[in-house]
């Protein structure tokens, strides 16, 4: 009997201590935000969304290679001799047209591994988190600023140049091969002549 009373007393006591805590919290300051009206300020350096400053990109592909999930898709075309793409703001010369620079933010896991190897610091995270989409394909961000016609043009030019170079190289190779063949032929002739001469001399003795 005594034990039962004691137990009930302990129960009541513990419940009311708990209630006290709850009441203190009830009158305490609010800890939540009413989201769409109030927004949390993300700290500097928060990793929420990737951004590429395409003007500074030199197309070195280091970021794409560092990504564990392969969500960066870069296609570069070598610039032809007649154009100068200029330099980045960090002073690195640009040698490639960036015909494609796509990042699939739906695949990205915000690991920050692509940010560190970039030589010009042009790929980085920005603290922006409201970018939901109804269609997942809208989450593939296209950072390349070249128009499709431009892309076709530079590709054609680059191809032409490559073709030209290839032809030149082939020409050179052919010339070389011809010269080599000529030389060999001459050498053979000489050797033959010498051989016959030797034979004659040997035979004469």
């Amino acid at each position: 009997m005594l034990n039962a009373v004691k137990q009930s007393w302990l129960t009541f006591k513990s419940i009311f201590t708990g209630m006290g805590v709850t009441i203190r919290h009830f009158f305490g300051p609010s800890v939540t935000l009413r989201y769409p009206e109030e927004r949390m300020e993300l700290p500097k350096g928060a990793r929420a969304r990737l951004f590429v400053n395409i003007d500074d990109c030199i197309g070195c592909n280091l970021c794409a290679r560092a990504c564990p999930v392969n969500c960066i898709d870069i296609e570069t075309v070598a610039a032809t001799k007649d154009v100068d793409l200029g330099k980045t703001s960090t002073g690195n010369p640009k040698r490639f047209w960036l015909t494609r620079f796509d990042i699939d933010m739906a695949k990205c896991m915000y690991c920050d591994l692509c940010v560190h190897p970039c030589p010009t610091n042009c790929i980085y995270m920005v603290p922006e988190y409201e970018y939901s989409e109804y269609d997942r394909s809208n989450l593939v961000y296209h950072f390349s600023n070249l128009e499709p016609e431009m892309v076709a043009e530079v590709k054609e030019k680059a191809e032409q140049e490559a073709e030209q170079k290839k032809r030149e190289r082939e020409e050179m190779m052919r010339k070389k091969a011809e010269e080599k063949a000529k030389k060999e032929l001459e050498e053979k002739k000489k050797a033959d002549e010498e051989a016959t001469k030797n034979e004659k001399e040997n035979g004469g003795e």
Binding site: Q7, L10, T11, S14, I15, T17, G18, G20, V21, T22, H25, V31, L42, P43, G45, A46, R47, A66, P68, M109, Y110, C111, D112, L113, H116, M125
Partner: protein, 379 residues
């Protein structure tokens, strides 16, 4: 629902599924329960719903460092501790020296993460047993820790912050004051938690003498962490096999005492976690004092990781227990094999042993008290 006749007792038994979509299985765990009335006669955990091939992925990567973000995703509640184990394993493999400042920052982060993880574990445990308010109050505190993390690493949950022999970025100048401020405000909250939940009679009634795990069974099942300490065994890898710089700090290892029930019951396991948070605060305070102000945290990170042929096993104390990484290298750029010894997986295998004979309502308490994270079980 299937009904079977028990061979032993001749009673009609019922087989039901708990989960995989059940609010108190902490993820996607399916428990196949065989019930005799309300008494559980058999439990069979079914896992694999969250399997993401972590170990196979690690072999696929062309760089050791690319595996670190994947370790985060194993136990997403204590991501920092998962990274810690992995980078320590690599550092020992490569015989790298870790700068002093890096070690201190790592310990502070790891202990903060331990508190955050225990807050979630305790809060969800209370929530499962019907205590809603503590969950909210604890989450308020957890948010503060996540804020600190976000300011330092840029992410709130999956940090990818530790690098081999370094950190991905330096801490901001206010890091010390922020953390010290948190430590100061958090201490009274532990007392509040004890008032609100730990010594609440209803809570005690639901957890004391439930799911008793005797010391011997704990050893046989290779339990570790708070589950093992709840059974009264003083075993903590931070003390017994010190890694990083844990041997420099003074802290106690709280163990279960059977204060309100039997030694090794759900309440003991719960209380060990509460007391551990206090110890973590002590470690953080000491580490904040000892942390050097100067030093480049990124200087020692190797550009390319080329390990010698060999293998290594490193175990660390994660909030859930002994987290081990077994890494085999074949001299190439990617690991030949990475095996993670996940404490949650080991503890899940304890379930059948400690829940036989208890009521179905207590199953929730038992699952909550071993504090598993399914991401780590399935990997």
């Amino acid at each position: 629902m299937i009904e079977v006749i028990s061979k032993e007792t001749g009673n009609k038994e019922m087989v039901i599924n708990m989960g995989p979509q059940h609010p108190s299985t902490h993820g996607v765990l399916r428990l196949e329960l065989v019930l005799d009335g309300e008494i559980i006669t058999k439990v069979r955990p079914h896992i694999g719903y969250l399997h993401r091939c972590f170990e196979k992925y690690a072999e696929q990567m062309d760089d050791y460092a690319k595996v670190i973000p994947y370790t985060d995703r194993m136990d997403y509640v204590s991501a920092i501790n998962q990274e810690h184990g992995y980078v320590i394993a690599l550092e020992r493999m490569l015989e790298l020296e870790v700068p002093e400042r890096v070690e201190y920052i790592r310990v502070i982060m790891a202990e903060l993460q331990r508190i955050a993880s225990h807050l979630l574990g305790i809060g969800a445990f209370g929530l499962d047993l019907g205590a809603f308010s503590p969950f909210l109050y604890l989450f308020t505190e957890r948010e503060k820790i996540l804020d600190i993390f976000e300011k330092v690493t840029g992410a709130r949950l999956l940090y990818n912050y530790f690098a081999v022999a370094g950190l991905m970025r330096d801490v901001h100048p206010e890091f010390k004051t922020d953390t010290a401020e948190f430590v100061k405000t958090f201490r009274p909250k532990i007392k509040e938690l004890n008032d609100l939940l730990s010594y609440n009679k209803i809570f005690i009634q639901r957890t004391a003498n439930i799911g008793v795990l005797p010391e011997k069974v704990a050893f046989n099942y290779a339990a570790s962490g708070p589950v093992l300490r709840g059974s009264g065994v003083k075993w903590d890898l931070r003390k017994n096999d010190p890694y990083s710089i844990y041997d420099r700090f003074e802290f106690d290892i709280p163990v279960g005492t059977g204060e309100v029930g039997t030694l090794g019951d759900c309440w003991d396991r719960y209380m060990v976690r509460v007391k551990e948070m206090e110890q973590s605060l002590r470690i953080i305070e000491q580490a904040l004092d000892g942390m050097p102000d100067e030093g480049d945290v990124m200087a020692a990170i190797p550009k390319r990781i080329r390990a010698k042929e060999g293998e290594i096993y490193v175990r660390t104390e994660s909030p859930r227990g002994e987290l081990g990484y077994y890494i085999v290298s074949d001299k190439s750029a990617s690991p030949f094999r990475v095996k993670a010894r996940a404490p949650s997986f080991v503890h899940l295998s304890l379930l059948p042993a400690i829940s036989r004979g208890s009521l179905i309502a207590d199953m929730v308490a038992i699952v909550g008290s071993i504090d598993i994270v399914l991401g780590e079980v399935d990997r």
